[in-house]
Symmetry: C2
């Protein structure tokens, strides 16, 4: 993975990609699957919805950090495996042979097999609604990844990959943020 | 459109579908395009990120209601047209020949050409982060719609339709909410 333009980071999340969210308490790394996520602004700020049922939730609250990693569709079995195993059941990185690497600004690891990873600082916890608000600090991109389709969860155990592509950049020209190239 | 099972409603949103969000102040209907949205729970509660730059935002705050409509990929040009026209520039329903119909529990109209529409009550406004929290009241489904692919925005003026499908319901059996059938 190579460092990418932080202004382009939101575009990895806006389409509704399922995420692998990593955290670390300094002794042990953890990872969870999250499909309840949305972009809040282009800086980027990203929100996820989670709660006490995820072991990672407590670690992220305490450390104020995570990495939001964007897996490709060829990783969907791993993503489901991570999503159905609780942190208390053992080491998910070992169980699913997930390679990790060191991030630069946070202790949470990167997953370099993903399409992208965003090192994040926790900005706020909206407790009433179980929403964590992250500010993206540093973007990593994996230009060498062959399968570039993200995973979309339907919530019922079925998934779609990105399919037909449509370019409407000309029609949206006046409404796009700068710095996307 | 026919009424559907509200327990299945979240599944229309979880994959990151671009939405047409309707509102009405009693005199005039309005519609905006939103791709910054996430599921908060299965009841369902849905969050969207928006703000003063959308005319619909003020109407939704004042009326406490909207419909979240899920367009299919064959509507992507209309969705982009709605998203790039401001409410102050005229009637978007007329301009884009968007048919609307009456909802049951809210004054905001349904868009019956969409795959689904969720009548919603505004539950909260998280002002610090520009997040509106909606509670879904009533689900409408359009079983007759041929193009069943939702629209995913990449944020740069390009879009993907739902593509390759993967069924991992067996693997996720223990983690799925009841009532999805």
């Amino acid at each position: 993975m190579k460092q990418g333009n932080i202004r382009r980071a939101f575009s990895y999340f806006e389409s509704g990609a399922v995420l692998l969210v990593t955290s670390s308490d300094g002794k042990r790394d953890n990872v969870m699957t999250i499909s309840w996520q949305m972009v809040l602004d282009f800086s980027p700020r990203i929100a996820i919805a989670t709660g006490e049922w995820n072991e990672s939730f407590r670690t992220i609250l305490e450390t104020g950090e995570c990495c939001l990693c964007v897996p490709s569709f060829d990783m969907v079995e791993t993503v489901v495996g991570v999503g159905t195993m609780h942190g208390s059941q053992g080491d998910k990185f070992g169980r699913f042979e997930l390679v990790r690497s060191k991030a630069m600004k946070v202790r949470a690891p990167l997953i370099p097999d993903c399409l992208a990873a965003l090192e994040c600082r926790l900005e706020d916890y909206v407790e009433d609604h179980g929403i964590l608000i992250f500010k993206g600090l540093l973007l990593w991109e994996n230009a060498g990844k062959k399968d570039r389709r993200v995973i979309h969860a339907n919530g019922d155990g079925t998934f779609f990959a990105d399919g037909e592509f449509r370019d409407l950049r000309r029609e949206m020209r006046d409404r796009l943020p700068e710095g996307l190239e």
